[in-house]
């Protein structure tokens, strides 16, 4: 049973922002509720006010064009993303990530905006968006601003959102016609798992088909917030990705980017070993997934 609360359904962004500001810590912004209501059932994280924003039109729908790229409403569900034909074709790494979230039932309710704003370091939707260079369109009472997703997280479960701000849309530029993407989720079982480690890779190669010309790597559950592994990315630029030893040599650099902690789900030491093994492996998977003309 969920404890009693007052329920608000703002019809506009300004109304949602005003409510969020008014209720502060006593309120919670909810879309699909797959995290929030589960926590409220357990008795902690109780709120006096629930602000349900998923009916707001600006937060709806998936838009795409070659020039503008992809625009995901914050209230778009994970299942809408995994079934979208253009996303499947052009943004496959995002599909690989979101389809590991919860279950079909959870993906039918949970939203991409919720996944981002909950700001869990383990979020399966965030890593792929980080390597796809996504940005967050934020609305506040003072107007709108856009923040790169890599700058959105400020600490464990903390974001740049001010008291009066909500996430409206996530925009993702059109990826190169030929790129390789991969998401690897390490868990102890296949179903209903929270990632002990989540690795996302986006890479491009030069005309020779093997020299790395772009590399973006995101790590989940490897630091207090979802991060980009920038030193490892820099290592790969200009390297021959068809050479397995060259790819695996990054394992000596990856720990300069990551700082996994001990948690009840896994030891930091274990996560460090996994990173050294699995980051190069995910790079190899992404290289293998490269779409070749």
């Amino acid at each position: 049973m969920i404890a009693r609360f007052d329920y608000h359904v703002p019809a506009s962004l300004d109304e949602a922002c005003a409510l969020k500001k008014e209720y502060g810590n006593t309120g919670i912004v909810v879309a699909g509720g797959s995290d929030v209501y589960a926590k409220m059932h357990l008795g902690d994280h109780l709120y006096d006010h629930v602000i349900d924003i998923k009916k707001i039109e600006d937060m709806q729908g998936i838009r795409w064009s070659e020039t503008e790229g992809l625009s995901l409403g914050a209230a778009v569900t994970h299942h809408e993303i995994e079934r979208h034909p253009v996303i499947k074709e052009r943004y496959d790494v995002l599909v690989q990530g979101v389809r590991t979230i919860g279950s079909l039932q959870v993906r039918n309710r949970g939203t991409i905006g919720g996944n981002i704003c909950t700001a869990a370091p383990s979020a399966d939707g965030i890593g792929p968006l980080l390597v796809l260079d996504a940005s967050c369109v934020i609305h506040g009472l003072g107007g709108e601003r856009t923040v790169p997703l890599k700058d959105f997280f400020t600490g464990p479960k903390q974001t740049v959102l001010a008291d009066d701000e909500v996430l409206v849309r996530v925009t993702v530029p059109t990826p190169a016609p030929s790129y390789g993407g991969a998401y690897f989720k390490y868990g102890r079982r296949n179903a209903m798992e929270i990632a002990l480690l989540g690795i996302s890779v986006y890479l491009e190669v030069a005309d020779d088909g093997k020299t790395c010309s772009a590399m973006r790597i995101a790590l989940g559950t490897s630091a207090p917030i979802p991060i980009r592994a920038q030193k490892t990315e820099a290592y790969y630029i200009g390297k021959d990705l068809s050479d397995r030893q060259v790819v695996e040599a990054a394992s000596s650099i990856i720990l300069e980017d990551a700082s996994p902690r001990n948690s009840w789900r896994a030891d930091g030491e274990f996560r460090r070993s996994l990173l050294k093994l699995l980051v190069p492996r995910t790079v190899r998977t992404a290289y293998g997934a490269l779409t070749r003309e």
Binding site: D6, G33, Y37, A38, D52, S103, L104, V106, N190
Partner: protein
């Protein structure tokens, strides 16, 4: 607001009810409407025993408020049979012995129905992936998956 009037279709019956906003869809179905097929297992979206279809999509009814279902069409296990004629999935679960204690079965069948509606005739691997949100603690997955696959094939052949 603490209470709200909702307008809802459940298994072809229309209801207009006032509900507390903190009432889950599962509590509304079980306690207000007496539809006890959907079960409360974990109350945190892990087990899937509470699965019902909202506008055709499987959801955990324990993680959805009744007020969020306002204006929706809900299908529960009670609405699946046509009179005495069981839905092919229900009949197949019986014929194949895909039921042990039965607690997870209503959720299993509702998820399976949604999968067959959306994906047609998915592979066994796809069925396993799509049904990962329905736990069985009698360890009866093998028969469940086979039964869903067999029903999908039978329906696709029609």
């Amino acid at each position: 607001m603490f209470k709200k009037e909702i307008n809802i279709m459940v298994n072809n019956e229309h209801y207009v009810r006032e509900v507390a906003v903190n009432r889950t869809l599962l509590e509304f179905l079980r306690e207000d409407l007496g539809l006890t097929g959907a079960k409360e297992g974990c109350n945190e979206g892990e087990c899937g025993a509470c699965t019902v279809l909202v506008d055709g999509k499987p959801v955990n009814s324990c993680l959805m408020l009744a007020v969020e279902a306002d204006g929706s069409y809900i299908l529960t296990i009670e609405g699946l049979a046509k009179g005495d004629l069981l839905h092919p999935l229900q009949q197949a679960f019986i014929d194949e012995g895909a039921v042990q204690c039965g607690f997870c079965t209503p959720g299993m069948i509702m998820t399976a129905k949604a999968i067959l509606d959306e994906y047609g005739n998915p592979s066994e691997k796809e069925i396993r992936k799509l049904m990962e949100g329905n736990l069985c603690r009698c360890t009866g997955y093998t028969r469940v998956i086979k039964t869903v696959k067999k029903t999908a094939e039978a329906l696709a052949a029609k």
